[in-house]
Structure formats: C-alpha cells, structure tokens
C-alpha cells in the first residue's frame, strides 16, 4: 500500500508540474483540444487514483476541477484568465495536499471549500464557448462515441506533438481498458454532472524505455565508480613499471573501461534544465498577473543537461531572477507603449554548454537598471562611500545589486523588492563554483549570465606539493604558473613593508606562502627546498589575484571531490578532500577561503561595506589600515593620498598641457581636465624639471568631473595604520603621520581642489561632504 501511495505521489507531482506549464500554454492557445485533453487526463488520473487510495478531500478538489475542465473541453465554456487562475489555484491545492500525504499519510484537514465554490461558480456560468460553434474542430475526445481509429489518431497526433522534453506516457493509457482503477474511478464519475469517458487509467510506463531509479542509488553508484577510478589509477601506476603483457594489457583495458563507465554513470545523474525551465511560464504568469504586466517567455536550450545536484542548487536563484525580471525589469504595458516598445514584455531564457560549463542567460527587454539609482541607493544604505561611488565603473555599480540588503525597487511587492534576494542568488551560485554577471542598458533591458560547472563531483585540479604534503587546487581559479629560478628568486620577490610581492607584468601580485598560511612544519628534507627556485601559482579569488608560493607542481588531474566531515567544516581554507592515485588523501584548497584567510579578499560579500567603515573612521583620526599613495611634491615634500580617492594615475607629456584662462588643462578621455599643481597650492617650490620630463598626474574625480593633481613623483603604495599625529590647520594638509619610518603629510584633496577654485558647477557638494571625502 505504501508503495502504491509513493508511486501515486511521485507520478502526481510530476504531472502537476506539467499541468502548470500546460495551463499557461492553454491560455495563449485556448482552442487547443490537445492541451485541454492532456490537462483533463492528468486531473482525471489524480482523481481516479485518490478515489482508489481513499483520499476523499483531494478527490473532491480534483473532481470540481475535472468537471470544469470537461465543460471547457466540450466547448460549453471558453477559457478566460479567471479560469486559468482558478485551475492553477486548484493545482496548488492539490500540490499542498500531496505534500500533506507525503508527510502524514493523510490528505490533511483543509478541504478548500472556497476554492471548490469558486470553481463551481465558474462552471455554472452559462457561457457559450467559441469551440462549440466552430465546426472545424470537432472534439476528438467525446470518447463514448469514439472508435478505436480515433484513439489511434489521437495517440499518433500526441507522439508527433512538439513537446519532446516531457515524454507523455499518458497518451498510451487509453489502450489499457482493463486496468483496475477504471472501476474505482467510475463511481464518482457517474455522479458528476458531466459524464466522462472511461478513457483514463493510471498512466502506464512504457516498459523497457525508462525506469525510475532512486537518486540515492545513483549517488552510491557514483561513489563506487569514483572508487573504481582511484583503484584504476593505482593499478595504472603500478602496471606502468611492469613489462609482463599478462598484466599490462588487461590494465589498459581496465583503464579504458573505467573511463567509459565513469562517463556513463555521470550521465545518469544529468538532467535537462527543462526540469527548472518548465516551471517558469507559470511563475511569469503569476508575477505578471500580480503586477499587471504582460510577459512573453521564450526558452532555448531546454535540453541542456547538468548534474542533478547542481540543478537543485540553481533552481531558487534562477526563479528569483525570473521573478525580478518580471517584477522590476519589465515595465507596465502603458509605459512600454509610451516608450515605443511592444506592450508585451519579452523574457528570454537560454541555456547552453560552453567550454565545460553551463551558461544560463536570462534576458529581459525591460527598463534596464538605472545605475545612478543603484548608486544613490547604495549611498543611502551606506554600502559605499561617496568617493567610492565616484570612482566606480558602470559594471561595478551594477554589481552592487549583489550586496546584501540591496533593492532598488521603490515599490515593495509581494514577491520581490524586500531587499533580500540578489545577494542570496550570488551566494548560492558561488557555492557551486559558478559566477554571475550582469549587463544592463537603460531602456533596453537587463541580461544576467550565470556560469556553472557541469558537475561538482569531479573537477580538474592542479596538484602541488608544499612541505611534503600534497594539495589540490581547482583549475577554475588557476590563472597561470610562474617559476623563478633560484638565483633570481631573491631579487624578483620584493617586500612592501614586510609583505612579499612579485611584479607580474608590471603589476604587484601579493604572494602567499602556502606553508606559512597553513602553518605547515617543514621536515629537514623539505626545508632544504627553501631558498631554491620558487614556484608561484597565480590564482583568481573573486576579483583579486594572488600568488601562492609552493614547493613543487606535480600535475593536473581529475579529482573526485569528497566533503570534509562536519568537524572540519569550520576550516574555510579547504573545499574538501580527494583520494590520490596512491590511495592517500589530499586536501583541496578553497581559493576564496585562502584569500580571505590571508586578507587578500577581506570578507567577500561585505568588502564594500567594511571599506566604508574604514573611510568613516579615518576621519575620526582613529587608527585604521588604509592603502595610501605616496607622492613627492617639491624637492623634499613626502605626501600621502588615501588610495580610495585616486581614480587613476596618468602621465602627460609637457606638450599636452594647454591653457584655458588662467588654468592649466589637459585633454583627457574626451574632456578638458583642469590641472592643479599641488606644489603651488601648498606653496612649495616645485622640483627642478627638464622641459622634456613627463608630468605625473593623480586623477581625482568627484561628481563625474575629474581634476588632475600634478605631483613631482609617484613614490609607492603602502598600507598603513592611519594615525594622524599632528593635525594641521593649513589648507590642503590634514596632518602628519609616520609612514615607512618617515614623516609624511596626509593631503586633504578636497581642500586642495577648493583652493584651486575648481568649480564643480552647480553640483558642488556642501562643504561637509568634501571634508568627509
């Protein structure tokens, strides 16, 4: 009996999912008898089964739905959005009851009298349907008068129907007249107002084509194959040293077979993305109805397959994005028409394989994201500081919507706009090693692109050795490998205040020594490796790069990722463990965790927020680590500018300096940028310069306007605890502090800009703002 109920639950849930999309489809094509019949059959099957299994409340709900559908099918009523809404509500009610049955074995206490009444009312509406008067489409489903040939025709039509992604085994069901559930479902049928043909029975599986398999069984199978792969690796390693053909040739055979087996077993866990996509038409409809929008959803690449566990992981984020697109992205029909677009919004979902990854694109043709609004919102919420905002690119601004607590929706609706969401989307996608990218054009729409790996179980990784231990680094984070020979190692690795860095094509790459990061103890033999050649693994963590210094690179290898026990979950630096060819365990390094541990990436999600705090605190003269740009002004003046205020560093040829009024200017990125000589403002004698020397300029930007600060030399970038020891009352200087054991003046850029009488037009902010900047 339990098995029966289980089968019923599994089957009904699948059918309900299909119902959602079919009902929505029916709305766009109300005359489709095929869809109507399919929907009718599904409800009928559920009704029949629950009569048989004794779920009377569920049966009642299904029964009114069925009656309504049968009147629709007979053409006595025509479909209006009201009907669809009612029927969808019924689907939800049935789904709830099924959930209840799964939990308790009973169909619950809720009997949905309101829903039943609504559906009954709809049914009683005397409204002639268009189908009835249409002689061109005789209802093929009037089964009592129908002969077998009609049946067959319908079946054939079904199998030719362009819906290959859901195999409709139901269509074969009418042939099974003698199934026991016919008699049990016949009773209530006769009592109902609309007589139903006994065409439906429990849907029959086509034997030999598909079978249901427990997912746990597949998981176990996958684990066992993982084992086999490892054992194979061991045997392959061993047989490579042997010459006996009696061993070597079966070992090769084993090698091939195992790979093939692994591939096939992996496939069993793959599911088409349509399992998620097919739910979206309903979601779009519900959200669209809720906010009075018309949205057409188009889906491509529904048969793109990916691992089941990944599908689970991306289901909620995708649903959220789709809801957001309809709710916030697409405009109301009136607005759309006013903007010269079609009244109906267009939402395009596309999935495809691309370079070993699955790419999912969700594109709408809505209003797009207003980056200035994003900026204001972020400022208002204190997620970024004004100077950060001024320096952010469009792309960076767009990415702000992934910060926790961010929502630009003016109107909080039932479904979205409560300030949670996009950060959850990003967190969930990050968790499966995926990435989210967002593009938006004002007025033209927004495209969100998600990239995720095909599977989580097996990943390519680089195997490295440090202090005698092996570690695996997932290749997704790997950028490049740099080897520094022993004699060059000392000079190539430089130090910024004791922190090792390497100049990678002119840019400073912070270095992390793996042995130090992990507190590995070195045995005498591995200690001997120190001081010899250094190998730097350049890794990408979030948007930063870091160089991981290891002793040795072994190889790249496909590794089977195994989770660490809960006991070790707290250690963020490891993503899991794997078993190497020799049977020993190696730890997998979580690059993001490593970067956080070593402060390359502070706390990924709150980076902007925390730097805001830092900026706020620096004003209170509290000690806080800040990146500072060291410059030389005049011959001796050593000054510092908070790096956060620096938009760019540029050099200009002396010839590029032009004059506008009394002001030195330079053409920069298509605009005229005023130049301010810091030495003039501070009344310091400028350093001696040859006429041919290039001019070093620190570009500062505020309210979209740029100012170039001319300095004599750029010295360095340091990170320091900013403790202003000697607050200054002099214009342009905030005070002095000790940096790299030398006294350095901290420049007050806004004040310098003010002294230079550079006018930021009407947008000149109040003085307090400038001070805090």
């Amino acid at each position: 009996m339990d098995d029966l109920i289980n089968d019923f639950l599994v089957e009904s849930n699948e059918n309900l999912d299909r119902l959602d999309s079919e009902l929505v489809k029916l709305e766009t094509d109300p005359s489709s008898q095929e869809l109507l019949s399919s929907i009718f059959r599904t409800i009928h099957t559920i009704k029949g089964s629950c009569g048989f299994l004794g779920f009377s409340k569920l049966e009642k709900v299904a029964h009114v739905g069925e009656s309504l559908l049968s009147r629709l099918r007979e053409g006595k009523l025509s479909l209006t959005p009201e009907f669809t809404t009612g029927l969808l509500a019924m689907v939800d009610a049935i789904r709830n009851m099924l959930g209840e049955i799964q939990k308790t074995g009973q169909d619950g206490n809720e009997s949905y009298p309101d829903l039943i009444e609504t559906l009954n009312k709809l049914q009683d509406r005397d409204q002639p349907g268009p189908q009835k008067v249409n002689p061109g489409s005789p209802s093929p489903d009037d089964i009592p008068n129908q002969n077998q040939a009609d049946f067959m025709q319908k079946i054939l039509a079904k199998s030719a129907a362009p819906s290959p992604d859901s195999v409709q085994v139901n269509s074969l069901a009418p042939l099974h007249h003698e199934s026991p559930s016919v008699s049990s479902s016949a009773g209530p049928e006769e009592a109902s107002s609309a007589p139903h043909p006994p065409e439906e029975t429990k849907s029959a599986n086509v034997p030999g084509e598909t079978i249901r398999v427990d997912v746990h069984l597949l998981d176990r199978l996958m684990n066992l194959v993982g084992e086999l792969v490892l054992t194979r690796n061991q045997i392959t390693q061993f047989s490579a040293r042997q010459t006996d053909p009696n061993l070597v040739s079966p070992a090769q055979q084993l090698n091939l077979l195992t790979s093939e087996l692994q591939e096939e077993v992996m496939k069993t866990r793959m599911q088409p993305i349509s399992t998620i996509f097919d739910k979206f038409p309903r979601v779009v409809r519900d959200v669209g109805m809720g906010c009075g929008k018309q949205v057409l959803i188009e889906m491509m690449g529904k048969d793109t397959e990916l691992d089941k566990s990944l599908l689970e992981a991306i289901k909620d984020p995708l649903t959220h994005i789709v809801r957001n697109s309809v709710d916030h992205g697409i405009e109301t029909p009136e607005l759309r028409v006013a903007r010269g677009k079609r009244a109906e919004g267009h939402l395009k979902l596309r999935a495809c394989h691309e370079g070993g990854q699955v790419v999912i694109e969700i594109a709408d043709d809505g209003a797009g994201i207003d980056t200035s609004r994003v900026k204001n919102k972020a400022l208002e919420r204190g997620l970024i500081t004004p100077q950060q905002a001024a320096n952010m690119s469009e792309r960076e601004l767009l990415n702000l919507i992934f910060l926790p607590g961010f929502s630009t929706a003016e109107k909080v609706t039932n479904l979205s706009g409560r300030g949670v969401g996009m950060d959850v989307v990003k967190t969930n996608i990050d968790r499966v090693n995926g990435s989210v990218d967002i593009h938006s054009a004002m007025g033209a729409g927004t495209t969100i692109k998600i990239k995720i790996p095909l599977t989580l179980a097996i990943v390519p990784a680089l195997v490295v050795v440090c202090a005698g231990e092996r570690f695996a680094i997932p290749q997704v984070s790997l950028c490049e490998l740099v080897r520094i020979e022993a004699d060059a190692a000392n000079s190539k690795i430089e130090f910024v205040h004791g922190v090792p860095v390497y100049r990678l094509r002119g840019r400073l790459l912070p270095l992390v020594y793996l042995d130090q990061a992990l507190h590995l103890e070195r045995t005498p033999e591995s200690a001997a490796l120190l001081g010899s050649a250094a190998t730097i693994v350049v890794l990408q963590a979030d948007d930063r790069q870091l160089g991981l210094v290891v002793d040795e690179i072994i190889d790249t290898e496909e590794i089977v990722v195994k989770p660490l026990g809960k006991k070790l979950k707290g250690v963020k630096i490891f993503a899991g463990a794997t078993i190497m060819g020799d049977g020993r365990v190696a730890l997998i390094i979580d690059v993001l965790g490593l970067a956080q541990q070593t402060n390359i990436v502070s706390e990924v999600r709150s980076r902007n927020a925390s730097s805001h705090d830092e900026a706020a605190e620096i004003d209170k003269n509290k000690g806080n680590r800040q990146a500072l740009l060291l410059i030389q002004v005049g011959q001796q003046g050593r000054m510092a500018i908070p790096l956060a205020l620096v938009a760019r560093l540029e050099v200009f040829a002396p010839a590029a300096i032009e004059h506008s009024g009394f002001q030195d200017v330079a053409q920069y990125r298509g605009e005229i940028m005023p130049l301010v000589r810091v030495s003039d403002i501070l009344q310091i004698t400028a350093g001696e310069k040859d006429a041919s020397d290039v001019i070093q300029v620190v570009v500062y930007s505020e309210k979209g306007r740029r100012v170039g600060l001319v300095v004599d030399r750029i010295l360095d970038i340091v990170e320091e605890n900013v403790v202003i020891q000697n607050p200054s009352h002099r214009d342009g200087i905030r005070g002095s502090m000790v940096i790299q054991s030398r006294v350095t003046d901290l420049l007050d850029i806004p004040s310098i800009v003010r002294s230079a009488q550079i006018n930021f037009d009407q947008e000149q902010p109040p003085v307090e703002d400038l001070v805090s900047a």
């Binding site: 084992e227 231990e469 507190h519 026990g565 020993r584 190696a586």
Partner: protein, 149 residues
C-alpha cells in the same frame, strides 16, 4: 531483571574503554593519515577508508593523555556518529564483552576535566572498571575547538 548490552572495548593508556557494539562500524589497523593544517590537534588527520574520507580523532589527546610513545602505531575504531563515520585512534583493541545494565554507574564526581566531558559512566566488571565513551561528545566540534594546541 536487567538487560544486557554488548560493548566493544579498547585500551588507552592502560584504561579499558567501551563503546556500544552497535555504534562501531569496523576496527582496522593503523592507516596512513593526511594531516589537516589549522585544526585542533585532536584531529590527527584524514584516512581513506575504501574511498570514504574519514576524520581520525586521537582519543588520547581528546582525553588529555600524553601521546603514544614514538614508533607505536594506534589502531582505528570506526564509529557511526550523527554526522557520519569517525575514526577514533586507540592504543589497542580488546574483546567484545557483554555487560548487565545494573553494573552501570555514572562517573564519580571527582572525575573532572577532559575525561568528564566524554565519559558517560562506568561499568563495574569483575576486577576492572570499563569507562563508557560518549561518542557524540567525543567528536563534538565545539569541544574539539577548545583543544587547539
């Protein structure tokens, strides 16, 4: 009338410890371990148990005893816990013994410190005492984190 229970016994620094037989998955000889950096010292490393990666916890360290002398290799008692299998490193494996429920007593109040946390009680065997290990407590990560050495 009292019921009986079966205990799998093992030795640690001369003491007999026992865990209920149903909790024990298997007993295996010493396995090579991969040490895990940045975790408490009670976690000795990871072992490969036919493809499953299992955390090995040094019970001597967990109980605040001194380490096994250099060169002596511990045995693994693999137990089932709520969060999956865990291996306890012990000195030596004893017999499976059957005990009556009425020989059980809670640990004496004078038992303090690390042992108090993980010893659930004592079975009075003829001539010896068997300490019953509370395995869930023994592997509790919060407790483990207190033992960073």
């Amino acid at each position: 009338m009292s019921s009986t229970q079966q205990f799998c016994t093992f030795f640690l620094d001369g003491y007999i410890f026992g865990v209920q037989v149903e909790q024990v998955r298997e007993v295996i000889r010493y396995q090579e371990m991969t040490r895990v950096p940045l975790v408490p010292a009670v976690v000795r490393g990871l072992i490969n148990l036919r493809g499953q990666i299992i955390t090995a916890i040094d019970l001597r360290r967990r109980l605040g005893m001194k380490d096994l002398p250099e060169g002596e290799l511990p045995m693994n008692v693999v137990v089932r816990t709520e969060d999956g299998a865990i291996s306890f490193l012990v000195d030596e494996i004893g017999d499976v013994i059957e005990v009556q429920d009425d020989t059980f007593e809670p640990p004496p109040e004078t038992l303090q410190g690390l042992a108090r946390e993980v010893v659930h009680g004592v079975h009075k065997l003829p001539g010896r005492l068997m300490l019953v290990l509370d395995i869930e407590r023994a592997v509790n990560p919060d407790d483990l984190n207190g033992h960073i050495s």
